[in-house]
């Protein structure tokens, strides 16, 4: 089982990069959704 730790490290770090990238997309989408709601609510008030 030589180099098993390296193989695991490669897969874990690789999946980790994709997971963190997905989390950043989800976070940015959530922030924008909040901003979008705020802007939609402020539009009728300004009319």
């Amino acid at each position: 089982m030589k180099n098993l730790d390296s193989v695991f490290a490669a897969y874990i770090v690789g999946w980790g990069v994709f997971f963190v990238f997905y989390l950043t997309i989800a976070k940015r989408t959530s922030n924008l959704r909040t901003e979008l709601e705020r802007l939609k609510n402020s539009l009728p008030r300004t009319k």
């Binding site: 490669a10 897969y11 690789g14 997905y22 979008l36 802007l39 539009l43």
Partner: protein, 225 residues
């Protein structure tokens, strides 16, 4: 929304199945042993990254031609996903190289051109943060994206054109190259899985970019009131 959830679920299941196949179905390579199993993740992710950069290139060309913001959204979405893929390639490559070559990194043609590719798409994304006006930002980044794509065929052909520390191609490498049939099946299944994951991430990132455009539009409306 439901379609996006299904796409995400299929992509995750395929990636898990590909990892299972890489560990338990693919036979052990004779000279490198266990460490060669990184190949199924490393090379499949590289192919997916190059494909996403190709999508970015097409979107950039279409933006320059049609000036439709949807192509700009697709361009930046695929550039970010491609950059994530190449980041994974640049991390998993040295982890594989160290036990096999005895070094983490060398400035050979394949490794250098891949690192340059990573830098080019980091620059593409940085460039977008420097220009405020949306049309100007889209045009400048599309032109830069078309230029950046020149490095993709250079990365692909580097191991065919030059003798490199990086192994010569085992897929489409001409006579003398090739993979064991089971290894080949596992590899192409991994390629499919990573392409599905990339497609899912592009869709998610595209939705974000579309929402950003809506927010910008509404913010201008509110300001104008």
């Amino acid at each position: 929304m439901t379609k996006r959830i299904i796409l995400g679920a299929v992509a995750i299941l395929l990636v898990i199945a590909a990892a299972y196949a890489a560990f338990f179905i693919a036979p052990e390579e004779r000279t490198m042993g266990l460490i060669q199993r990184i190949f199924y993740f490393h090379a499949a992710t590289a192919w997916a990254g190059e494909m996403t950069f190709f999508v970015c290139f097409l979107a950039n060309l279409l933006y320059v031609w049609k000036r439709d913001p949807r192509y700009d959204w697709l361009g930046v979405s695929s550039a970010e996903v491609g950059l994530a893929c190449i980041t994974v390639v640049l991390i998993t490559g040295p982890i594989w190289a160290h036990p096999v070559w005895g070094i983490w990194w060398t400035w050979d043609a394949r490794l250098t051109s891949t690192f340059v590719l990573w830098l080019l798409y980091v620059s593409y994304l940085l460039l977008r943060t420097l220009v405020d006006e949306p049309d100007r930002r889209a045009l400048l980044s599309a032109l830069f994206g078309i230029f950046a794509f020149i490095d993709v065929p250079l990365v692909f052909f580097s191991i065919r054109w030059w003798r490199t520390q990086h192994p010569q191609p085992v897929i489409m490498g001409g006579s003398g190259s090739g993979l064991d049939p089971t290894m080949s099946k596992v590899f192409f299944f991994s390629v499919l899985a990573m392409h599905m994951l990339a497609a899912f991430l592009i869709v998610e990132r595209y939705v974000l970019e579309k929402m950003k455009a809506e927010v910008d539009f509404l913010a201008r409306e509110v300001e104008a009131q």
